[in-house]
Symmetry: C2
Subunit: 107 residues, 2 copies
């Protein structure tokens, strides 16, 4: 969380602060499992941890860590309903980000 955190580099559209925020979100998304989570929640409104875990065949604890991180960074939200906790996509912009790159034919 510190780097070019002190230089001019102005003159572009984005401020240093904004670049750091963008980098932060990108980093939070930059992982196959997390991209899969976004894809899943882009199509489902909300899913329980078990749902996601089964669909992606990712172990519960690991998934929880991913979900917690994404929630912490504002990408997801969660609500409990009985024993289950349902996660939903809060920052829907990340869908576009992924779509944008996914559309690259050369990938």
């Amino acid at each position: 969380m510190s780097a070019a955190t002190s230089a001019p580099l102005v003159d572009m559209g984005l401020s240093i602060e904004k670049m750091e925020k963008v980098a932060f979100i990108l980093k939070t998304t930059a992982h196959p499992t997390r991209i899969a989570i976004v894809q899943l929640l882009a199509a489902h409104d909300s899913l329980s941890v078990t749902d996601i875990s089964e669909r992606l065949s990712v172990e519960q604890s690991l998934l929880s860590h991913h979900l917690a991180g994404m929630k912490l960074k504002g990408i997801l939200s969660s609500t409990r309903d009985g024993k289950n906790i349902y996660y939903a996509l809060k920052m829907r912009e990340v869908i576009d980000v992924i779509q944008c790159l996914a559309a690259c034919t050369f990938l």
Copy 2:
């Protein structure tokens, strides 16, 4: 480079392979300095290492490492002209990716 690299998780638009590629590009972009580089090259066609180094006030060697990585991953291209090496944005899609997130008012 290995994770959910072996599960079903199909049914979404993106294949596992594609998700990994997208994650790969996102990871390569997810850094304030590299975002600044993209911004700069989005507005300039091509710039020498010294140009970039001065504008972003990032030390030469460190910058070189960033540039090399981005080039390796196909985001940038470079050509030598005399003493200088000019870098340019090859994968222009990353501009949109950044713009997309940068547009988020809540960031």
